[in-house]
Symmetry: C2
Subunit: 125 residues, 2 copies
DNA sequence: GCCATTAGTGTCAGGAATGATACCATGCCG
DNA sequence: CGGCATGGTATCATTCCTGACACTAATGGC
């Protein structure tokens, strides 16, 4: 998560970009959202499988923040063992074009960047 | 910047999202790119005016990383006082739809999130 | 000679975000 | 009774970001 959470948006036009970024800055949030777009409904454990590099704590954090921002809903079934379902809210669903753009770009160009970096590291090595 | 920079992309389809995110994770990078889309060419000091919350050091960092990722070019004019120009590379320009999506969403929905958060903080206060 | 300019770099401190690990509740199964 | 399953917490360590400050280099103006 970005370290500074702004609360006022009446500054420059870039502020809305900044504000949007704060929803994503969470390092894993875009991934979480991406998977929710893919699967509609996910349980905590399913996120863990899809995002193996995220610690349980971070995952909890990020999900709670997404929930606090009204992008994701959390439904708890009071059973044992626990059962919790996450899904996108209506607001969350509006992010689809953004996630889609990220994915599209990544599919097309991520490899270019990899090459770029590899070329440089090869030079230094 | 995200703390883990992956170098391999042959994992799940979400990896390209992840990879794209790493270019943005830099907390300020998307803003930097946004301003470059607006202004085409920017000098270091101009970034500082547009991003008053970024420290000089962070700005340098982020710009260097963007340069290393091949998204931004840095042109130094060997004069005194120093003159340095930043602009998007061809690869950088391909990010336009992504930045645009961020901006569009922010313009439309950032206020919704603000309201959401405000409502919650009002409850707790 | 002294100050200002620009795009930084270097260093130190403090705080925030992240990671690793251990632990919990509860009910079912054997 | 012991262990497993799920969705977490709690605690501590590490790593990253920020802030404040000092310092640089070459030229122009006072």
């Amino acid at each position: 998560m970005p370290r500074t959470r702004h609360t006022i948006l009446d500054c420059s036009p870039s502020c809305t970009v900044e504000a949007t970024l704060e929803l994503f800055g969470g390092k894993w949030k875009a991934l979480i959202l991406y998977h929710l777009f893919e699967d509609q409904v996910l349980r905590f454990g399913e996120f863990r499988h899809r995002l193996p590099n995220v610690t349980q704590r971070m995952l909890t954090n990020q999900l709670r923040e997404l929930e606090a921002d009204g992008l994701v809903s959390r439904t708890v079934f009071p059973v044992v063992p626990p059962h919790v379902e996450y899904r996108l809210t209506e607001l969350g669903k509006t992010l689809k074009p953004v996630i889609q753009a990220l994915k599209t770009w990544g599919d097309q160009y991520a490899h270019s960047v990899e090459r770029e970096k590899k070329a440089k590291s090869d030079q230094t090595v």
